[in-house]
Symmetry: C2
Subunit: 457 residues, 2 copies
């Protein structure tokens, strides 16, 4: 029987892409249809991402709009933008007509503003048009920007039998029935039911007697990250969205949340690596430069700062103290590493709502932690310098300042994200190059100060 | 009506925690019950995470096991371990008896091996016991380790009416009915149905005529990360798990995948920051040191390497060339930053299956990118050094070597994760301190070489 099942181990091979390209080249629509009809729309999107624009548009125009609309949603964002440019407003409106309202609104929002109205005007289904227009008005980072209008809604006064009958109609439009939302006659959300509850219930029972009133919901203006946190925390697969008056407006499903979580994680990861602007390995060199250069420039300025500091200590260039200069890369690296470690833990803790307690207690903990790490590392460095250079004073000066540098770097790495968070700024910007650069400079300055003091020069 | 709805904006305030602590102190079980019964189990878990161990155990012993089992699952892992130590095997078995098989197996797997058997022996429900024992045999990173045995299964020979009747029985045990899995008489998965399909169908129809045979599934030994990718790609909310013979063994639901994705993202983020071992801000100083010190030690060794290189170039300490030493922190920082940027993009691309094409084309692209960034930055540095020191040769030497260092750092950052990935090693270890340290050393070496050549000294 297993041959009847879809092979989910879809492999995007060069042979497959060549095959598709050959069929397009030969305009062999029949074979192309036969080949592509075997695949899931998400797989076809992966194939199209590898084709050139002309070829991709050829496939989009060939296949039915109920498949191509799903393919469009799965395409790489840059490729989707290019493909949409090649389609007429009417063609886009047809694609959009096949999509759920949330996806439809997302596609339209990506279009240049001038085209948005053209496309909306061409949508045939008036209800769909009105719903999409409503969704477009919400901020894309709000619950309203993520929700879909498709849901199954019943009134508390209905019976189970009546409910089942009417659900049959509504459910056809809803891809997945997670929950049935129960509203009163003013359309206010009062609770929910599962299909399972309905099936288990007796047909003459009133909905009002079955409804679970302890229902989670979010406000249409809530931030999507907060919605994601709530859904993950309470293990919800769908959550209803209401306005200030508790009127049911839409619902958000877990698959959209999975995408939000993934995007957030990717963004934070890139931020920590000194990359801004949600780029991918396949983006153009210019796009990648725009994402990377500003942070490198920050590093350059920091390096110039380090140069100025070292030049200020040029007087130390006497005999034995010269060795101090050879350890600046070590000091800078340790300051940077410790700073990134401590800030990453705080940034992640803040994102997961794990960080409680006062700023002072965090700083004291980080100080102890950095001191412990610093002393272990400094001991090792002391032994190395002593053994290698045979100068116990130099070894002492370098090691003691390493401990100080590590403690200060840990404190800065802890304090800066906490401070930014208090000010309502995304603490994630405080990781990576930002912390590394400031710790580099401060670390080197501190190092020379302390070493100079200890050596008495 | 809105006051009937659960307030999802649960706030963990100090007052609330104090209130709970006071009730525990006074052994005021009635008020404690009244207070906690208002909250969702995930919220109670947050409260318990803030209490000391004795207080947390007091609450766990007070509440009913159907609530406390869910609370246990939501507790911070370290706290759960401590609480479980305070419970008898029989008490744990009772908690486990209330949980779905996947969660039950997870709890038991966390116990010391000696206790595992004791707890399993005490589970009363023989079927539950057998299922949990089966799940414990799978690797925790495999589909088998993630799946639950709870699912709704029907035979292809049944009618819709018969199906509905029997589903009522099965569904009571299953928290959420995502899909109804259809098997043949050999228990082989042949397809699926949704509750919606059943409701819309006529009661005398045969399941065999309704079943959707294009069903995604995974093998019980598949890696959880691959399962997560498949479910995210195809927007699945549940996926059946089968063995080599296509026999239906269990199912994985999207909420478990959300947890997997979150853990993965957290792990990669920490790895990039030089932290290993899945620690949190609230872990002990010793645990945090264990996670951070190895990477700092790597940085220290790298710093010593830089020292040795610089000492090797000590001969350059003549008049004008001294300024070269002042720019080593800048060179090291730029090499590190570029390396981290390029490796992060590749690591992320590999994780998202975005990286296609040959290694050579990647390296050529990164070389062009690094060259572009490098030339812009070097131009700026050239002007600074020239203006500041008035020595065009020195300025030229430093800037030219900066370009070379940036290109090499970019190539290493691109090549190393690609190489590790080809070798089947997690490329994520190649980000953060690893790349920074190796680029620091190589960058400084390259810098002095090139600068020495240009200055002809």
């Amino acid at each position: 029987m297993s041959e009847e099942n879809e092979n989910i181990q879809f492999q995007l091979t060069d042979e497959l892409i060549e095959q598709v390209e050959q069929f397009i080249e030969a305009q062999n629509d029949k074979e192309l249809h036969k080949l592509l009809d075997e695949f899931h729309y998400a797989d076809i999107a992966e194939i199209l991402d590898e084709l050139n624009l002309e070829e991709a548009v050829y496939v989009i125009k060939l296949l039915d709009s109920d498949t191509t609309s799903d393919i469009l949603m799965e395409l790489d964002e840059d490729n989707r933008e290019k493909v949409l440019k090649q389609l007429s407003a009417k063609e886009i409106a047809e694609e959009v007509g096949e999509l759920d309202t949330d996806d439809a609104a997302d596609i339209i929002a990506e279009l240049p503003e001038a085209r948005q109205k053209d496309v909306i005007d061409q949508i045939e289904d008036e209800e769909h048009k009105a719903e999409i227009t409503e969704l477009l008005a919400y901020d894309e980072n709000s619950a309203g920007g993520l929700m879909a209008k498709e849901l199954v809604k019943v009134y508390e006064t209905w019976t189970v039998a009546g409910c089942m009958r009417r659900i049959r109609g509504q459910a056809k439009e809803v891809t997945r029935v997670h929950s049935i939302y129960v509203v009163n006659k003013e359309e206010k959300l009062i609770g929910r039911l599962s299909l399972k509850d309905l099936i288990v219930a007796k047909s003459e029972q009133k909905i009002a007697d079955l409804v679970k009133v302890n229902v989670d919901f979010v406000n249409v203006h809530d931030d999507v990250e907060d919605v994601a946190k709530i859904m993950a925390k309470y293990d919800l697969e769908a959550i209803p969205v209401v306005d200030e008056n508790q009127i049911l407006l839409g619902r958000i499903t877990i698959d959209d949340i999975v995408d939000v979580l993934k995007e957030e994680a990717d963004k934070d990861y890139q931020m920590a690596a000194g990359i801004t602007g949600d780029v991918e390995a396949d983006d153009s060199i210019l796009e990648l430069t725009r994402a990377r250069l500003p942070w490198l420039f920050l590093g350059l300025v920091g390096g110039i700062g380090a140069f100025l500091i070292m030049e200020g200590f040029e007087g130390l260039f006497t005999g034995k103290a010269v060795v101090l200069f050879f350890f600046t890369p070590l000091i800078a690296a340790m300051a940077g590493n410790v700073g990134v470690q401590s800030s990453a833990i705080i940034v992640q803790g803040l994102a997961n709502d794990d960080v409680r307690g006062s700023v002072n207690s965090r700083l004291i903990k980080e100080m102890l932690l950095a001191a412990l790490n610093g002393v272990i590392l400094a001991l090792f460095l002391f032994l190395f310098v002593w053994a290698f250079k045979g100068e116990i004073n130099t070894a002492l000066a370098i090691s003691v300042s390493l401990v100080a540098v590590i403690i200060v770097a840990g404190l800065i790495g802890t304090f800066v994200p906490l401070f930014l968070n208090k000010r309502g700024i995304d603490p994630a910007i405080a990781t990576g190059p930002f912390i590394t650069t400031s710790n580099d400079i401060l670390g080197i300055l501190l190092y020379f100060w302390i070493a100079k003091m200890i050596l008495g020069i």
